[in-house]
């Protein structure tokens, strides 16, 4: 784990779970697999705090445990899973686009709570949806269940590993830690629940006249009923499936930008057909025949078979090689080259970075080197049509930033410098890794800056919150305009301006974090797929 990653993980944990969890999580990331005693000893915190923090981390799938042969339990943190916290808003938004508000809330509840049982999720989501609906209307549990089932069918959520059934003699002492078993067959099977009911409002009049707060009522409910039929079956969000979806989205939009809407629709259809047949790390999808594609096109599209064939040929001939032709049977077999597509996307990102940091001429040299692989100093000047002095200057600037590297090819065995070729080249994997590291650093800096800004204006923020609370309570009890005006004036005009600028800055920083995360996704996907290939 690089220092930048560890720093970013620490900031994310601190923001979302508090300092205690942050300290313990960061320690685990740095130290690797450790038992409870060592964690307590190394961090110097009280054992109870360590236990609490570990429970929270395990609940959120950030730490896993394993029973070692000698009988003690070791805990290991998953650093990349912690970094995913940055992407939570994107997951929730995707669920919203695919399954509307119900899906959005289901995914949000699962992300906020780590793992949940289906009945609990359905109940909570129905209650939340009922809150937002008009008076008198309630959300039925069955509708929420249906969306849940659809999410499970498309693999966006999956079951957590289970405690194995007690097969041994029941009087044997239970092990110190259960060994959780992943049941491949049942990962997406939804238990048969008979969830009947409707969402409840917080202070709804059709309760039995109780004014008790909802939590208390729920607690009594769950205490009095027998355990739900899906006891012990927990669900969590399947992050890999979301990543697959993002990757498909990126490919489709790339094709749409390069060609036109219709070709992007064709590619989208092909990707959708391959969703279940292709694993996420495969270099290309299964071959699909042109007839199959024609049949699976969305019903709105009235393109004839010949037009589809023309589009497919065009896509296959494109130098970007997103689509490749695999054979002639069935009207032509076509595949989508996932690995090549990811490489192109990552390379486009790298080019764009060079262009924005060093100028368009440097970008020209960069693209030239990508195309020609290895070039001498003289050749670079000639091919790029840039004067020698400038070309030299740019090359050295890029060399100092490690964007391009020198390859020595000796002419003589004694490697004499005057008789050696020096070729410039671009190592995309190394550059991508460097850029990714920089992205992590950027996000960490952004978070720190945001926290600093908020801390600087803490007093002002608290004051404005108090004023809002007073205003709200006064409005509830029915106050006059004049009194409300007076309260509002408690915040002076320069203070208001300060608050405005603070809000603007925090929004900007948050939006930047989201945008950097998109770049992180592309780079990470490219690096992962390259590494797996090797």
């Amino acid at each position: 784990m690089t220092q930048a990653e560890i720093k970013l993980c620490s900031l994310l944990l601190q923001e979302h779970f508090g300092e205690i969890v942050d300290k313990i999580g960061t320690h685990l990331i740095q130290a690797g697999s450790q038992p409870l005693r060592m964690i307590t000893h190394d961090t110097g915190m009280s054992p109870d705090q360590v236990k609490k923090a570990l429970c929270v981390l395990i609940q959120h799938n950030l730490v896993t445990y394993q029973l070692q042969k000698r009988g003690f339990v070791e805990y290991e943190a998953q650093c990349d899973r912690v970094l995913r916290i940055l992407r939570y808003p994107r997951y929730i938004y995707t669920a919203k686009t695919l399954y509307s508000d119900t899906g959005e809330l289901i995914v949000e509840e699962l992300l906020l709570n780590g793992k949940m049982a289906m009945s609990a999720v359905v109940q909570k989501v129905a209650d939340r949806l009922t809150e937002t609906m008009e008076d008198g209307k309630t959300m039925d549990y069955s509708e929420v269940s249906n969306t849940f089932v659809r999410l499970a069918d498309t693999h966006f959520i999956q079951r957590c590993p289970l405690v194995p059934e007690a097969s041994g003699p029941s009087d044997a002492p239970p092990p110190p830690a259960p060994t959780l078993v992943v049941n491949e067959m049942e990962m997406y099977m939804v238990p048969k629940l008979n969830l009947v009911g409707k969402g409840k409002r917080r202070h709804s009049c059709d309760d039995d006249g109780n004014d008790e707060p909802k939590t208390k009522k729920q607690k009594q409910d769950t205490d009095s009923k027998e355990p739900q039929p899906d006891d012990g079956i927990y669900w969590h969000v399947n992050i890999d499936r979301f990543h697959q979806h993002f990757r498909d989205q990126a490919i489709v939009s790339a094709v749409a930008n390069r060609m036109d809407q219709t070709s992007s629709e064709i590619v989208r259809t092909m990707l959708r057909m391959s969703e279940v047949t292709t694993s996420s790390s495969a270099p290309s999808t299964q071959p699909l025949s042109s007839n199959e594609i024609f049949r699976s096109l969305p019903t709105g599209y009235n393109i004839s078979k010949q037009v589809l064939d023309q589009y497919l040929t065009l896509l296959a001939d494109d130098p970007l090689e997103f689509v490749g032709k695999h054979g002639e049977s069935g009207g032509g077999m076509f595949v989508i080259n996932l690995y090549k597509a990811l490489t192109s996307l990552a390379t486009a990102t790298l080019e764009s970075v060079v262009q924005e940091r060093f100028g368009s001429r440097c970008a020209r040299i960069f693209r030239l080197l990508l195309q020609k692989k290895h070039l001498e100093q003289k050749q670079v000047e000639d091919f790029a049509m840039i004067p020698a002095k400038e070309a030299k200057d740019m090359l050295y600037k890029m060399l100092s930033e490690n964007i391009v590297s020198l390859q020595e090819i000796p002419k003589t065995p004694d490697h004499a410098p005057s008789r050696t070729f020096y070729l410039y080249t671009v190592k995309t994997l190394a550059f991508a890794r460097m850029l990714l590291h920089r992205c992590y650093k950027s996000v960490a800096n952004l978070i720190e800056r945001r926290q600093y800004e908020t801390k600087e204006n803490k007093r002002l923020l608290e004051k404005s919150q108090r004023v809002e609370a007073i205003l709200a309570s006064m409005q509830a009890t029915g106050a006059e305009e004049a009194q409300l005006q007076e309260i509002e004036e408690m915040i002076t005009a320069p203070e208001r301006q300060q608050l405005e600028s603070l809000k603007r800055n925090v929004n900007k920083i948050d939006a930047s974090e989201n945008q950097v995360d998109e770049t992180i996704f592309i780079l990470e996907s490219y690096i992962d797929s390259t590494v797996k290939r090797i």
Binding site: T40, L111, N113
Partner: protein, 217 residues
């Protein structure tokens, strides 16, 4: 040494032919760097503006809401509030807020290692270890049952009257009481008040000798 006669006169001689790398004869090299680069170097090219649009705004709102929501969930473990400077008399009769060592949410203990389960009364047990063995023999079995019954009745009463926080703490303790001699502690000082309400500062600093199972380093 002979080769380094001229200070500042001409460049040094390299082991290879500098023309191959591209430095022509008589050309000035950039000055050597004598200090680390500035913290905020001036940007040659201004950054591209952020993306705009509905999608971006919605995700921004989601992100901020998520952050706010997580701060209020029980998973957010707030550091223990620092003790006040002077021990006040009223501390004895005030509620000690969220019970320090309890978890506010209920994980599925079957899926977690056993060692992670916190015994809430552990600390009180420490102080009472000397007393408990004797008392265990003293109290006959049926007396313990009656005491237990009285305790549960008392608890039921308190459920209705006390605040919600306190009630949650009680229930938490109620659940973890299986197999523990909780009634001993109520009887310790023979008051009418439940001892768990009070935090008279004795457990400050005694946290470190918790958990006798651990090896002592």
């Amino acid at each position: 040494m002979a080769g380094r006669g001229g200070r500042g006169r001409g460049r040094g001689h390299m082991t290879f032919n500098v023309e191959a790398v591209g430095i022509g004869k008589g050309e000035a090299l950039p000055p050597p760097t004598l200090q680390p680069s500035p913290l905020f170097p001036p940007l040659d090219y201004k950054a591209v503006p952020l993306q705009m649009g509905e999608e971006v705004d919605y995700m921004l709102a989601l992100k901020q809401e998520l952050r706010g929501a997580m701060k209020n969930l029980p998973y957010f473990i707030k550091p223990v509030a620092p003790k006040k400077d002077v021990e006040r008399y009223s501390d004895k009769y005030q509620m000690s807020g969220p019970i320090e060592n309890a978890i506010d949410w209920n994980p599925d203990w079957r899926q977690l290692p056993r060692e992670l389960k916190i015994r809430v009364r552990k600390l009180r047990k420490e102080r009472a270890t000397v007393v408990i063995p004797k008392r265990k023999q003293q109290l006959p079995a049926d007396k313990e049952e009656t005491i237990k019954k009285l305790e549960t009745l008392e608890k039921k009463e308190e459920e209705v009257t006390s605040e919600e926080e306190e009630k949650e703490g009680e229930e938490e303790e109620g659940k973890e009481e299986e197999g523990e001699e909780y009634d001993e502690e109520e009887y310790e000082e023979e008051t009418d008040y439940i001892m768990s309400y009070f935090d008279n500062g004795e457990d400050f600093g005694a946290d470190s000798d918790d958990n006798m199972d651990e090896a002592i380093y």
